[in-house]
C-alpha cells in the first residue's frame, strides 16, 4: 500500500533548518510563542493561535508541537482557556510527536499525546486530553474536558465516544505513517 508522493511548490513553503515545512498561506498569530519539534508540516490555511497565551513572564510557549507532525489544511489549533479560582487564563496546547491532524479540524485540547491520528472535520473540545496512540475518526466531536485513554478509537458525537481499541502495534504503524508522509512531501 504505497502512498503517493505529494508535491508542493517550493516558494509556497518555508523550510526551517530543523526540517519543518510551514506553508506561507497558513494563518499563524504570535509565532514567537509556537514551538515546532522538527520535520513537521503545516499545510496551507492552517490557523495556529500562538497569541492566546498565559499572561505572565514572557517567552512562554503557547503551542508546543512535536516531531513528524502534520497539521492539515484549514485546521485550527487554539489553546484552551478557563477561569481558575477567579483568574482567567489561556493554557498551553501541547501536541506530541507523530500526530496527524486532518483537514478542517478544530483543536482546542489541553494536550494531545504522541502517535495520534485525528481525522477530518473533527472538533476537539476545550481542555480535552488525548493520550498516546489514539485514533479520532473523521467528524468526531469530542466534548470539552474529556480524557481519551490510550489506544482508543473515538467516533461520532457530539459527544464522541470510544468505539473500539487499537492493538499495541499501532504505535509502529502511526510512526511509520508519519515518517512516510514527511518523506513523501517533496517540492517539485
Amino acid at each position: 500500500m504505497e502512498t503517493p508522493y505529494s508535491t508542493y511548490i517550493k516558494a509556497e513553503f518555508i523550510e526551517t533548518d530543523t526540517g519543518n515545512k510551514v506553508s506561507r498561506r497558513s494563518l499563524i498569530s504570535g509565532s514567537q510563542n509556537i514551538v515546532l519539534g522538527g520535520k513537521t508540516i503545516v499545510h496551507p490555511k492552517c490557523t495556529i493561535r500562538g497569541d492566546l497565551r498565559r499572561a505572565g513572564p514572557t517567552h512562554q510557549a503557547s503551542v508546543l508541537i512535536g516531531r513528524f507532525c502534520s497539521l492539515g489544511p484549514y485546521s485550527v489549533l487554539r489553546p484552551p482557556h478557563k477561569s481558575y479560582k477567579g483568574v482567567f487564563s489561556y493554557y498551553p496546547l501541547k501536541i506530541g510527536d507523530h500526530v496527524d491532524i486532518g483537514e478542517n479540524s478544530i483543536i482546542e485540547a489541553a494536550s494531545i499525546g504522541s502517535y495520534v491520528v485525528i481525522g477530518k472535520n473533527c472538533i476537539i473540545g476545550r481542555f480535552a486530553i488525548i493520550k498516546d496512540c489514539c485514533l479520532i475518526e473523521d467528524g468526531a466531536i469530542v466534548a470539552p474536558n474529556t480524557v481519551v485513554p490510550p489506544f482508543s478509537v473515538v467516533a461520532a458525537g457530539p459527544p464522541a465516544k470510544v468505539v473500539s481499541h487499537l492493538p499495541e502495534s499501532i504505535q509502529e504503524v502511526f510512526e511509520a505513517r508519519s515518517k512516510d508522509n514527511y518523506a513523501k512531501f517533496v517540492h517539485e
Binding site: 498569530s29 490557523t47 497569541d51 499572561a55 482567567f88 478544530i106 473540545g125 466531536i141
Partner: protein, 168 residues
C-alpha cells in the same frame, strides 16, 4: 457600498473579511480570519461580543442582522438569519440557519444547528446528536463572569500579536 463603523473600544483584527454595512459596538473583539459579510442588508453587532476565528456572520436578506451584547461566537460557526439576543454562546461549528433568531442566554452546542426558520426562545440549549433542545438549568452568572474576564484578557493580549484596524 461598504461602510464599516467601529466603536472606539472595539478590537477588530486586520486579517478579517468585512464587507458591506457593518456596525461593531464597544468592546467587541473580532479575531483573525473572521468574516462579517453584509451582502444584502446591514449587520449591527452589539457591545462586548467575542467573534472567534473563521466565524462567518452573513446577511443575505434586506433586513438588518442584529447581534446583541455579551455573545460568544466560537470558531468556524455561521450566523445567518435575523441575529441573536444577548449573552448567548454559539459553539464551534454551530450554525444559525435560514431566518432563525436566537433569544437571550442560549447555548448552541458544538456543530449543532437551528432549523431554517426557528425562533429559539430564551434560555434554550441546543445539543447532542440527534438534535435535542432543553431549557438551561443554571443561571448565566458563571459564564458571564468568565466572559468579562475573557474580554479584558483579550483586549490586553491581542494587540500585541496582531494588527488591529484603527477605529476612528
Amino acid at each position: 457600498m461598504g461602510r464599516l463603523q467601529i466603536a472606539p473600544q472595539a478590537l477588530v483584527c486586520k486579517n478579517t473579511i468585512i464587507e458591506g454595512d457593518v456596525q461593531i459596538g464597544n468592546g467587541t473583539v473580532v479575531h483573525v480570519g473572521a468574516s462579517i459579510l453584509a451582502k444584502n442588508g446591514p449587520i449591527i453587532i452589539g457591545s462586548n461580543n467575542i467573534i472567534s476565528e473563521r466565524a462567518t456572520i452573513i446577511n443575505n436578506h434586506a433586513h438588518p442582522l442584529t447581534i446583541g451584547d455579551d455573545n460568544l461566537i466560537e470558531t468556524d460557526s455561521r450566523v445567518e438569519g435575523r441575529g441573536m439576543g444577548h449573552r448567548n454562546t454559539v459553539g464551534a461549528r454551530g450554525i444559525i440557519a435560514g431566518t432563525s433568531t436566537l433569544g437571550n442566554n442560549c447555548v448552541v452546542g458544538a456543530a449543532c444547528t437551528t432549523d431554517l426558520a426557528e425562533n429559539v426562545p430564551d434560555n434554550t440549549v441546543l445539543f447532542g446528536c440527534p438534535q435535542a433542545r432543553r431549557v438551561r438549568a443554571d443561571g448565566n452568572s458563571d459564564h458571564l463572569f468568565m466572559h468579562k474576564k475573557h474580554l479584558e484578557y483579550i483586549h490586553e493580549m491581542l494587540p500585541r500579536y496582531n494588527h488591529i484596524i484603527e477605529a476612528e
